[in-house]
Symmetry: C2
Subunit: 312 residues, 2 copies
């Protein structure tokens, strides 16, 4: 029986994982966005409502990343005659560095694919999600959409052709995530990064990413922590994030394996081996920010192996 | 009972493994060097003989990497009063890009440690081997000495402090290795490399090294092959190696997973999933070189998990 309506949650994601700029990312249990897609009689894709965005997202169906990727999807499967209306409920901050647009886009694509009876596999949805990122962010990077869509930890081994490799998370790995309410536009954060890096720094970086992947496979928590260093991107991006180094000190003192910027920031995250450590770190950093007059959102999460899911 | 003489074989190594410049390496079953260390009455370290080097290596015990590192070792353990004589038998080409100096140094250190009753662990010998590399090559890189000493595939996660991570080899992984007799001095090969790399190339490189490590852990031979790409170093180094791209084409056509330069060259290697494929590749490349008047040495090897070993 074809469904009349599908309601999907898709998760926020942490891109880069400190040493894996543009290639690594993982999915969180929370926060995330929800999309409801319902069949309607007249053909075409309508954007019925967007909530939780303070009016910041486009309402034009051809410009909103969710509806635009649903349109692409329906064209691709030869069902442009389908009529649907989309509701997007944002439950996570925009411009936070937590893959906000990726969560919305993936929720929409997962929903439309379910509504149409799963004509595409999950992996086959990835190019449509990438198009959505291009529309939302001006660049088609997959380090948020891949984990948002596939769940777990993902490596973008290469883009030409797109080669997404799942990296297993060790059994006990948690994330403390804090989004400080300071404004760091993604485009600016990317533009600050230098186009050239010193070879010696690149060597340090690829030693670390290799170490991180080895640590994740081998369940070597110490190695995971030692490898979470970024000598290429973080020194520049951290300038834009007030209290970054103090937040790191607090996280490491509280038992974090490693700490860094989530995506292009301003959100920060720590990996921990135990949930209570992540809880303590989130609380400590949020209290510290509050004392300095900086509001924030805090999260504690496992590594979300499932990715998007249908809600009842 | 303390030994009077120890005879050790230490293996050649392939540094970089294409995408892991300065951080990855693995040990071969062959070729390799042999060192015999024998107690003598007068205190001090004597270099009794060096064979197989066509007279190219220093005979002064303070300048030869084998005797110099044995002297460092004896000083470190407070046994500078020991009298030994060293014989170094080179069974592999110098300046080949196969870790010739590392094999000699490691053989010497493994031998003196055994002769003295194993005062140090294998890992504790690493700093002495690094000193030896510094003396022999003018730089203290560990990507040859670490696999020569520890066996298997090794990752130098970082140098400060030195952090060597063993990477498991999948059960069926073989190497075809060919050393073409063309002269590419290590120092020149290093100096040609640019000090800066484009960030976009660095991103491709760390996607690939992460993919290679993931493929090795996951026994995903296709992923290992797809990840063996080098956009940073190889384009420069390949210029110095005649017929490089034709050798690659021959190797890939014959079923190689991946192909590249061993260390700074001119040796080249291919990874294969089966021994007979490696045998075929070595034969094909050597025949091709012979037709063009280039002599070569060819090897077929597994990944040598043991590293150095005492000979009877």
């Amino acid at each position: 029986m074809e469904k009349n309506q599908v309601h999907v949650f898709a998760p926020a994601t942490v891109a880069n994982i400190v040493c894996g700029y543009d290639v690594l990312g993982f999915a969180l249990d929370e926060p995330g966005d929800e999309v409801v897609i319902r069949r309607i009689d007249p053909p075409g894709v309508q954007l019925k409502e967007v909530t939780g965005d303070d009016g910041r997202l486009p309402r034009d169906p051809s410009k909103n990343t969710v509806s635009a990727s649903v349109i692409s999807f329906l064209n691709h499967i030869g069902r442009a005659d389908t009529g649907v209306e989309i509701s997007l409920h944002k439950h996570m901050p925009i411009g936070s560095g937590l893959g906000s647009s990726a969560a919305s886009t993936v929720a929409g694509l997962f929903a439309i694919n379910a509504l149409m009876g799963h004509p595409l596999s999950r992996r086959e949805l990835l190019p449509f999600a990438l198009q959505g990122e291009e529309l939302a962010c001006g660049h088609g990077h997959a380090d948020n959409v891949a984990p948002a869509l596939l769940g777990g930890i993902t490596l973008i081994r290469g883009y030409d052709p797109l080669d997404v490799v799942p990296i297993p998370a060790p059994p006990s790995l948690f994330a403390s995530v804090v989004f400080p309410h300071v404004d760091v536009p993604t485009r600016d954060a990317r533009q600050m990064i230098r186009a050239k890096v010193a070879l010696k720094d690149a060597v340090i970086q690829w030693g670390n990413i290799a170490g991180l992947v080895a640590g994740l496979f081998a369940h070597d928590y110490e190695l995971i922590g030692r490898s979470m260093r970024d000598v290429v991107i973080e020194p520049t991006r951290a300038i834009l994030i007030p209290e970054f180094y103090e937040m790191r000190r607090l996280a490491m003192d509280a038992g974090a394996l490693g700490f860094g910027i989530s995506g292009s920031g301003p959100s920060v995250f720590a990996f921990t081996q135990h949930r209570d450590t992540a809880t303590r770190i989130t609380k400590t950093i949020q209290e510290y920010l509050t004392e300095r007059g900086i509001e924030s959102n805090g999260y504690v999460s496992g590594v979300n192996a499932e990715g998007p899911r249908e809600l009842a």
